[in-house]
């Protein structure tokens, strides 16, 4: 018996979520009185996983797996789960994780809970808490099957260091065919993505036009943040669709979300409510966002943002 975690890496490096699912997996393994096994694919240095409780690392090195393929990866995870006799399989909520997880569940005849935000409240019956109704509620679900698959919501559990003496084992799964092949990947390099960001800076229609995004980008740069926007901003073509956050856009689960010139419509809030701390900058003191925020500045973004950037730069100069 074991708990199996899939630790995703890109170009050999683990994503932060790889350590988060490992931290979570270790605690679940403790609850079940079993060991944690972490599966890696083409990762350079797996020793960092030991720091988060990986007792055993299953290492796959195979150039055929260099490009992510949901069907093939799902089958590889199934093989690993079967080999380790895993009771629980845990996958993150990255774009690849969410692609994989329903396939893994069907492959293993396992019940699935996605968007899980906490450790199981009980392991027999096996009950997990998941986000539902677009962050307006939670749902406690029982997974009734022998094998359970969990999709862990990003930034819901955090990183918990717990060093163990781990060991590694090379794993060579057989690779099935997939009817889907990747023909090209277009990825902005060096930019923080909304999915990975600890801080997100977001602009709304209050910014009047695309030409005013320079200060948003500058603020994001100072904070090492990703940029985002409200739905009308992307519908108007001021910013790309990939930046649209909210109920019908991307979810934001960062530590800090800064909303500038965004009114705080219910559909917008639904997608950003899981961000831990929210700051709003808006001319209208009655804007609904102030009811959902932790910190607020009532003022004109065109005056407030440049001053905020200046103060942040001073702060950084003092603290570096």
């Amino acid at each position: 018996m074991a708990v199996l975690v899939f630790a995703e890496s890109t170009e050999g490096k683990f994503k932060k979520t790889a350590f988060e699912v490992t931290s979570y997996g270790k605690k679940v393994a403790e609850q079940l009185g079993t060991n944690l096994v972490v599966l890696t694919v083409n990762a350079d240095d797996i020793t960092s996983l030991y720091g988060y409780g990986a007792e055993k690392v299953l290492k796959i090195n195979n150039t055929s797996l260099a490009t992510f393929n949901a069907k093939i990866y799902a089958d590889v995870i199934k093989q690993a789960a079967t080999k380790e006799n895993a009771q629980v399989v845990i996958i993150d909520s990255s774009s690849n994780g969410t692609y994989l997880v329903p396939l893994v569940a069907v492959n293993l005849n396992a019940g699935l809970a996605t968007n899980v935000v906490a450790l199981p409240s009980s392991t027999s019956p096996f009950i997990v808490k998941r986000k539902s109704f677009s962050n307006k509620a939670f749902n406690n679900s029982e997974i009734k099957t022998a094998i359970k698959v969990i999709g862990l919501a990003k930034n819901s559990f955090g990183l918990k260091e717990q060093a163990v003496t781990g060991s590694e084992e090379t794993f060579s799964p057989t690779l099935i065919n997939s009817g889907v092949t990747s023909t090209s990947v277009d990825k902005s390099v060096g930019k923080v993505t909304i999915a990975d960001a600890d801080i997100v800076v977001s602009g709304g229609r209050g910014l009047k036009g695309p030409e005013n995004w320079k200060m948003i980008e500058e603020l994001a740069e100072v904070l090492g943040a990703a940029t985002a926007c409200s739905k009308p901003v992307s519908d108007l073509g001021w910013r790309p669709h990939s930046e649209h956050v909210g109920q019908t856009g991307k979810p934001v689960t960062s530590n800090l979300y800064i909303a500038i010139g965004i009114s705080g419509a219910i559909q917008h809030l639904a997608g950003v409510n899981s961000s831990k701390v929210k700051v709003v900058i808006n001319t209208d003191a009655e804007a609904p966002f102030f009811k959902a925020a932790d910190y607020g500045v009532v003022g004109d973004a065109f005056e407030v943002v440049p001053k905020f950037i200046e103060k942040l730069k001073e702060f950084k100069a003092q603290n570096s």
């Binding site: 909304i194 669709h241 001053k307």
Partner: protein
């Protein structure tokens, strides 16, 4: 080409979410239902296939009789016919199982769903359906073209996009981008009239053991009031974010 569009019937995005019966059931009182927003994009894309590539478009929902107005709306937008699987969904796997039967019986070669439904937020049904049918699968799709049997699809990835080549039969889970917001269709009077006479068939569900069960629901803890900082004192904001919130 036989296209099946999966329509999830969800509370309108402005709905207040409340529960009843000891927090075990969603309280539908005063809730307006709509086509799941992601499915609306997918349905519009299917209309394009109908008009330009001779596809027939069927819409399907797994739900009880209260979902029929939502299916009628999809017919009014232009779908040819509708199927309702007469069952209260238990979870994503239950829905995928029912849809798999519909796809097999109807010999559909393209299934278009949405990335996730905004009520249960599972993001499970399309992938599970593809796996059950052994169809190809594209998740988080923001655009696709069909040429004969070949499918070229773009999916969103963290920080960019990826182009995939695949072939029918395929399940596609779409989202905004698969068509533009401005191209979304709203039913016109003629559509609403003709929708009334379009076929809506009701099929009974297949039985199997469920894999999950909802125990109860919870609402997030109430939050404290916002702390306002003067626009003339942004150093204070920086200070609060550093020392109090500890996020910078």
């Amino acid at each position: 080409m036989k296209v099946l569009v999966c329509i999830s019937h969800v509370p309108d995005t402005t709905s207040k979410i409340n529960f009843m019966d000891n927090d075990t059931k969603f309280d539908t009182n005063g809730v307006q239902y709509v086509i799941n927003p992601h499915d609306e994009y997918s349905l519009t894309r299917a209309m394009w296939l109908k008009e330009n590539q001779g596809a027939t478009v069927t819409v399907v929902n797994v739900g009880n009789a209260t979902t029929e107005p939502t299916l009628r709306k999809a017919l009014a937008i232009g779908a040819d016919d509708a199927i309702r699987v007469n069952a209260e969904p238990i979870d994503g796997f239950f829905v995928a199982k029912q849809l798999a039967e519909v796809v097999k019986n109807g010999e559909f070669d393209l299934v278009i769903a949405g990335r996730e439904s905004i009520d249960y937020n599972g993001g499970m049904v399309p992938g599970m359906l593809a796996a059950l049918l052994d169809f190809n699968f594209v998740n988080a799709c923001i655009g696709f073209e069909i040429n004969g049997n070949n499918v070229t699809a773009t999916r969103e990835i963290d920080g960019g996009k990826e182009v995939l080549a695949t072939s029918l039969p395929t399940v596609i889970a779409g989202q905004k981008g698969i068509v533009e917001e401005k191209d979304l269709r709203i039913p016109n009077m003629r559509g609403i009239m003709t929708a009334r006479s379009k076929p809506l068939s009701i099929v009974e569900p297949v039985a199997f053991d469920s894999t999950t069960a909802t125990i109860n629901f919870e609402k997030p803890a109430a939050r404290g009031a916002v702390k306002l900082v003067s626009a003339d004192n942004l150093a204070e904001l920086v200070n609060l974010l550093h020392t109090e919130a500890k996020v910078i």
